[in-house]
Symmetry: C2
Subunit: 276 residues, 2 copies
């Protein structure tokens, strides 16, 4: 582990670390915000999964989350959204390959070797974080767009691992929208039973734990009707009796201006669950 | 005036506008944040001047200022830091030419034609803002690094124009540090009497209005000893009896993480003065 950035921020420390990921077979950067409370004792950890094209920088520079994390005593961890670098398969499109890992384990070539973001986020990264930073066992997970998909899927597939889950503008039903169809076809092939294992709207039907979902969605989001379609998750939750708070936010778009406007409420929500 | 961006943000609207600047002879972009209160009636305006290399995007994407502006009902205006484009003189270095206007009126070639940021900030931009947005007559000004220099100089040279002034990590004495010596030599020539008209530490000695200065400076800032030297302003203020609050913030660097950590206190300071 090598520290590559460190900045004082709201009385705490915004850091970026690099490590050789055995899961992904590449060096990975991830961001950690340590609130001032972390100097006194362990703090719960909120994992943030970013959207298409993002790396570990977007959330920490644009979301304005550190002030709320400092207020609530929450550690923030924001990984890159995919493996990167020479030797890692890629595609010219922004929505496949590097910057578009979709938080799953790819089974098809040329992706299967490095594209194992699911194992990275659920196993290697939390083990690393817990070994190097003053964490409690309480974890929450959130994310944006592709990362909102990742947060929902990872929480639903791992009952007991997270105390809380939320998402901004998530891809709730990747099996039914162009971004997901393209990525799942490439990474997983055409077995749609396999796709359902990575689709929050499908997973919610059989979730063994009824962890409440908090979802914020801007109604002026350009991707709303084609790629996001939160009503599909809403219908699945209603059918399954799964608790969902879906908030349609009037006038908000898909940008970090939207995330910044509501990240304080999300962090408060996670802090309450993680400390409860 | 052409709107080129609009995002809902904290109940208000983050916008970017473009206009043909007669002062600068180029199209200029500037950012405006309208708090929710601006839909009900006029609001005071805080002008933000950015540092070297920055355009109108840096402050609005990284400072996390909108939430505080929404809380206090303050309009934020963030212009570009220089004229830009083909036909505008430039230099390969980051600290001269495009992105490095130093908020002065250049008198030397090849700069004199376009580099008139002082006139732009003090005349054309506020007239434009007042004509197009619901502003009161109360104005404040702040900025970072080169923009902190700009805020202090512009406030000191224009008594009565601003109710409040503050700065983050300002270049307080450009006549005495490498960034300023290089820029002033290029833009103004070697007449040091002229330099003194653009140097906050020099101007404070003869200020006709004792507008209090609020300055935050990180003590882990890499530019502190060579380029910023806030003690020079402190000594000048003490000698002149000019009110200065200089806060050395332990552990903070020159980045937007520093600005984000204290912009809430600055906006509260400006709001109090502008509404008082």
């Amino acid at each position: 582990m090598k520290q590559i950035e460190q900045h004082a921020s709201f009385g705490g420390s915004q850091e970026v670390w690099q490590h050789a990921s055995s899961t992904l077979g590449v060096d990975m950067d991830f961001a950690v915000y340590l609130p001032p409370q972390a100097r006194q004792g362990p703090c719960p950890v909120l994992y943030w999964l970013s959207g298409l094209t993002c790396n570990e920088q977007n959330f920490i520079t644009k979301a304005g989350a550190q002030g709320y994390a400092a207020k609530h005593g929450v550690i923030l961890v924001a990984p890159d959204s995919s493996p990167r670098g020479e030797g890692v398969a890629d595609d010219e499109a922004y929505d496949l390959g590097q910057g578009a890992g979709f938080y799953l384990n790819a089974t098809r070539e040329p992706w299967a070797k490095h594209y194992r973001m699911y194992d990275y986020i659920t196993q290697e990264l939390p083990a690393l974080v817990d070994a190097h930073f003053p964490t409690t066992t309480a974890r929450g997970i959130s994310g944006h767009s592709m990362g909102g998909h990742g947060a929902l899927v990872i929480a639903l597939r791992n009952p007991g691992m997270f105390r809380s889950v939320s998402a901004f503008s998530p891809v709730v039903a990747p099996s039914q929208v162009p971004w997901g169809e393209k990525a799942f076809g490439a990474y997983l092939g055409e077995d749609h039973d396999e796709w359902m294992q990575w689709d929050a709207t499908a997973l919610v039907a059989n979730a063994s734990e009824r962890l409440p979902l908090l979802v914020d969605q801007g109604d002026a989001d350009n991707f709303l009707d084609e790629q996001l379609r939160p009503q599909l998750l809403q219908q699945a939750c209603e059918a399954a009796g799964h608790p969902l708070t879906l908030r349609m936010q009037p006038g908000y778009d898909h940008s970090y201006y939207f995330i910044a406007s509501f990240i304080g409420e999300h962090i408060a929500h996670h802090a309450k669950a993680m400390k409860g």
